[in-house]
């Protein structure tokens, strides 16, 4: 694949993530903050998000597996994940967290278990997609090309 094709693939791929609602405009904000002086900014933030989320999801699983679920512990975790996913533009993860929180409020253990599964699903999805996106970017850079700016015409 030549450089122009790779760049087009990347653009199409990125666009699809927005169209599917996996990413929202906050991700574009992050891309705007990336430049020659900070060429890896987005991947750095996203990596922090992955590390942070892995930790939170682990804590959530443990909290929900207790005999007596302490919602005072569960809710702050979900709030944290909601915040960080929102900050990187991981829209579907954020939305899943919003639903999760409402069930925390109702102290509905079963529903919370389902919510956790949903959040995990959305998280692994965005993680997978972003890792693919960064791989495409790396291929372009390795071929001596530049990452094209995302043009969203919709």
């Amino acid at each position: 694949m030549d450089l122009v094709q790779m760049q087009k693939s990347l653009q199409d791929y990125t666009k699809s993530l927005f169209l599917e609602g996996i990413l929202d405009s906050q991700f574009l904000q992050l891309q705007q903050l990336q430049d020659e002086s900070n060429p890896d900014f987005v991947s750095q933030v996203v990596t922090l998000f992955f590390q942070d989320s892995d930790r939170i999801l682990n804590d959530l699983s443990l909290s929900l597996d207790q005999q007596v679920v302490d919602f005072k512990k569960v809710d702050p975790h979900v709030h944290q994940l909601k915040g960080s996913s929102s900050s990187i533009g991981a829209q579907r993860v954020k939305n899943a967290c919003v639903v999760f929180r409402s069930f925390c409020e109702q102290q509905n253990v079963e529903a919370c278990h389902r919510c956790l599964q949903q959040v995990k699903q959305e998280y692994y999805l965005v993680k997978n997609r972003l890792e693919t996106l960064f791989k495409l970017e790396q291929q372009i850079v390795a071929s001596g090309g530049m990452i094209p700016a995302v043009e969203l015409g919709f």
Partner: protein, 209 residues
């Protein structure tokens, strides 16, 4: 003036204010590592010097307001703006705001609160306590740019006011008036951002000369 003095711009004798913008030093407080990274970049790209801390407690330590030793070493600490998350474990952003506004050293430093939750009573409570602004997360570049302009404008107005009057006499009067206004339990005064409040007092005084 004391610790935490807002940075003064250098004003040439002609009173012309077209000088290079001084670099603002911002203290950013957030318990989320992701948000700290983002806010730091947003501020740096807006040409601000940034110090990030992960909690209200750490912020107080940094400012020397934790009652511990080392406060005397902070005489030269210049912080032009404090940006803090609202929901943090331990000391909330609101608690931090209160402590800053209660301190003589940093009460004039503008404080901006960030929150992912658009809760009106929360916003009102923060503004009433003297927060400069309330930003809804996720914070965008346009938000940071707007805040920066606001802070610079406030500082420019303060400098302009001082340069148009007898500086020394006004300084003394400002010092006495600021100490008396802090002991006032005047809720209407509290609603206005502190930097604007200082300006109106100095304008009143300057009309006496």
């Amino acid at each position: 003036m004391a610790v935490g003095e807002v940075m003064r711009m250098e004003i040439p004798a002609g009173g012309d204010l077209t000088v290079t913008t001084p670099e603002l030093h911002v203290l950013a407080v957030d318990d989320s590592i992701v948000d700290r990274k983002v806010i730091e970049r947003l501020l740096r790209i807006s040409s601000c010097k940034v110090t990030t801390v992960e909690s209200g407690t750490r912020a107080l330590q940094y400012l020397g307001l934790d009652g511990g030793k080392g406060a005397s070493n902070l005489k030269d600490l210049k912080v032009n703006l404090i940006v803090t998350d609202y929901s943090m474990p331990g000391l909330t952003g609101y608690d931090l705001l209160k402590k800053i506004k209660e301190s003589s050293a940093f009460r004039e430093v503008p404080v901006v609160i960030m929150s992912s939750e658009n809760i009106l009573p929360r916003i009102e409570e923060c503004l009433k306590e003297g927060a400069e602004e309330f930003l809804l997360k996720p914070v965008k570049l346009a938000d940071v740019k707007r805040i920066k302009q606001l802070i610079l404008k406030n500082e420019a107005e303060e400098c302009k006011t001082l340069s148009h009057s007898n500086k020394r006499k006004l300084q003394e009067d400002c010092d006495t008036s600021s100490s008396s206004s802090s002991s006032h339990d005047d809720s209407s005064v509290k609603d206005t951002p502190s930097s604007k409040r200082m300006k109106s007092e100095s304008e009143n005084l300057s009309s006496l000369f």
